[in-house]
């Protein structure tokens, strides 16, 4: 099937500047991804899941320039957390800034070096979850990342990782256009916390594929960096096995355009998937969370908790779907998306969807948009809490349910302090 001419031209233009590496097993996986991309074309404004977010700046041949931001007024995110660090600067691995990649119970390989090596476990995984995640909703930028990722990490967890693996994405060049692809495979009973932080580049396209084996536990916490002008399209694809747990939390403060896709499949019985986000935008900020959770196993639980704090014309988007397949009995699905509009200029667009083909399920979803509660504000002030501080307390209270999805208290506290910092800087 041929693409319409405009779509074909846009794709050709985008791919012209990218180099394709066809070598080895990875090359084969990349070729399949390229074929998927070729069949879909790049996302367009009229595509069903791009109606609220204009994909143009994510698909142009060149990344729109974005100045790097100096967040030197704060300690780096996760600074106090003992972890194994891998640093990427504008998408390029920085060995000097990174730790030695050894961690008991964990194998860590770099994608850039993996093509030549025989990494058997990654061969069936790379691009596989992304490919599954292309139906029923197409995600062309994910296929692009599978085909053209310049680097990434392949992580296999066989035991309980003693400390988190931390991916740090630095942004230096004003025109950098980073494409990364990571795979994580947790063998049955394994446990890992993956941290990600930083803006990565002027434009960042990324895929993270996670296979969570039977009874395994995966925690993912990321902070997308304070850069104002950067753009990002990120994707998490996860397949969660019986009795396994998947938890992902994202903090987004600032950023001109962010699109975070999460495509999660609960394939085994009694599996749990939680995905949460707290985002804050002031002014030129467009943040889109697009989530698709498929329940296949019985007695699985999924939770989506997304909170957005918006001011000065910032825009928040939430598109969240729960699909309960036939036979996924006793599914417990919960979805909440809320925005706190700090003024009348900001906007929240939400599209919650439920599609249920099993009869014994419990699914709830809610979406609200509102201002700070005046009565609560007055009550706090009447006890002597100054206006700004009272507002800040109430905003943090609004975000609490999302932050509550982070299990590690030290990490949650770190995230909370970032939010407080943001509120302090953005108090009128």
């Amino acid at each position: 099937m041929n693409l319409p001419k405009a779509k074909q031209d846009a794709l050709t233009a985008r791919l012209a500047g990218l180099s394709f590496d066809a070598r080895g097993w990875l090359g084969a996986a990349r070729s399949e991804a390229l074929a998927r991309l070729g069949a879909m074309g790049l996302p367009g404004k009229r595509d069903e899941y791009w109606r609220y977010t204009d994909p143009t700046s994510l698909t142009t041949p060149e990344a729109p320039p974005a100045a790097a931001f100096d967040a030197g007024d704060e300690t780096p995110v996760f600074d106090g957390i003992d972890r194994v660090k891998l640093v990427f600067t504008d998408g390029v691995f920085d060995a000097d800034a990174s730790d030695d990649l050894t961690l008991a119970g964990v194998e860590i390989e770099r994608l850039a070096e993996a093509g030549a090596a025989d990494i058997h476990w990654a061969q069936g995984l790379y691009g596989a979850l992304e490919a599954r995640g292309q139906t029923p909703v197409q995600r062309p930028l994910a296929a692009l990342a599978s085909a053209f990722a310049s680097d990434g990490v392949l992580i296999r967890v066989t035991g309980r990782a003693a400390k988190p693996v931390s991916l740090i994405y630095r942004h230096v060049s004003e025109t950098s256009d980073a494409i990364l692809h990571h795979c994580v495979k947790l063998e049955p009973g394994a446990e890992l916390t993956l941290l990600e932080n930083g803006p990565a580049a002027a434009r960042f396209t990324k895929v993270l594929e996670v296979e969570v084996g039977t009874g395994a536990r995966f925690h993912h916490i990321r902070a997308q960096g304070r850069d104002h002008a950067r753009r990002a399209a990120t994707h998490v694809f996860a397949r969660i096995g019986a009795g396994a747990l998947f938890k992902s939390f994202t903090l987004t403060a600032n950023g001109r355009l962010t699109r975070n896709d999460a495509v999660l499949e609960l394939v085994g019985d009694d599996a749990v998937a939680h995905v949460a986000g707290a985002s804050m935008g002031d002014g030129d900020f467009h943040h889109d969370d697009t989530v698709f959770i498929t329940h296949e196993g019985e007695r699985c639980e999924s939770r989506q908790v997304f909170k957005k704090v918006l001011k000065n014309g910032a825009v928040g988007v939430f598109q969240g779907k729960i699909l309960v397949k036939p036979g996924a009995q006793k599914t417990d699905g919960y979805q909440i998306s809320q925005s706190l509009l700090l003024d009348g200029d900001s906007q929240f667009l939400a599209k919650p969807e439920l599609e249920i083909y099993a009869d014994d399920v419990k699914c709830s979803h809610g979406s609200t948009s509102g201002a700070i509660d005046d009565t609560a504000l007055y009550y706090l002030r009447s006890r002597g809490v100054p206006l700004r501080q009272a507002q800040s307390l109430l905003v943090l209270a609004f975000l609490a349910e999302a932050i509550g999805e982070i299990e590690d208290e030290a990490i949650a506290e770190d995230i909370r302090s970032r939010l407080e910092g943001w509120l302090h800087r953005h108090a009128h």
Binding site: Y378, S382, R383, P386, L393, L394
Partner: protein, 252 residues
């Protein structure tokens, strides 16, 4: 301590006048009570004094130790020593009771140029005060007033008052919704705070509370005005005869 002169208040968004010339003077160390029929404006008076939005003062003044109250922000009034125990304490999901108390206390201390209380000292203080009010540690951990029973909310108001040690305490129907024992606890809490430098304005419908918290003066409010003031015997009269006689007396 508190001096209110000819206070007229209407709703900001409607042409509804609620207070029609309230005069009230409470000296340092005094306890005054206000009684009055439902809708007479008692809560409105307490809200206007503490700085709630939505009301417009069209005439008159209110001062706390000589400072113009009505010009100040709510938090400034609190720091100046004013405290209102709400008739309907507000639930704040997501804000822990402890965080709330500590933030409030330290903010007031800061505004007054005093040093902030350390986490340890604060904890000791709040535990001791909570114990006397029979508020358990579990309640302190919960979000502000969320899931509290009516009586627990009222006790929580008194706990805040005990922690903040204000000079002018307004209690708006703190007794309603309390069982007999809880009322005694609350009254003891109030009495423990009584001293020469602190005044109370107790809004209530029932004489019973005034058996425990002995007022110096009792005022009767009706239709946005104080129509009669007297000693504690006035409360007894209301208890026995209702407001009909008093209202008729004024109407003459």
């Amino acid at each position: 301590m508190l001096e209110i002169n000819n206070l007229h208040v209407k709703l900001e968004d409607e042409d509804k006048v609620i207070l029609r010339g309230v005069d009230l003077k409470i000296g340092a160390g005094e306890v005054h009570a206000i009684m009055g029929p439902n809708g007479s404006g008692k809560s409105t008076l307490s809200y206007v004094l503490s700085g709630r939005d939505g009301y417009e003062v069209t005439e008159g003044s209110a001062t706390l130790e000589g400072q113009e109250l009505l010009e100040m922000e709510p938090e400034e009034r609190a720091a100046a020593g004013l405290f209102l125990a709400f008739q309907y304490p507000v639930e704040i999901p997501g804000v822990g009771n402890m965080t709330f108390l500590r933030t409030a206390l330290n903010a007031q201390r800061k505004t007054r140029g005093e040093e902030e209380l350390s986490a340890g000292d604060f904890l000791k203080l709040v535990r001791a005060k909570a114990k006397t009010l029979k508020i358990d540690a579990e309640m302190l951990k919960r979000p502000v007033n969320v899931g509290f029973s009516g009586g627990e909310k009222k006790r929580n108001e008194i706990l805040q008052m005990a922690m903040l040690e204000p000079k002018m305490c307004i209690l708006d129907e703190t007794d309603s919704g309390l069982d007999v024992d809880a009322m005694k606890l609350v009254a003891d809490g109030v009495n423990a705070l009584r001293d020469a430098g602190r005044s109370f304005l107790v809004i209530t419908h029932y004489q019973r509370l005034l058996d425990h918290i002995k007022p110096d003066v009792v005022h009767i409010m009706a239709a946005g005005r104080i129509i009669k003031s007297g000693g504690p015997e006035l409360a007894l009269e209301v208890e026995n005869n209702g407001y009909a006689d008093l209202l008729a007396e004024v109407a003459q």
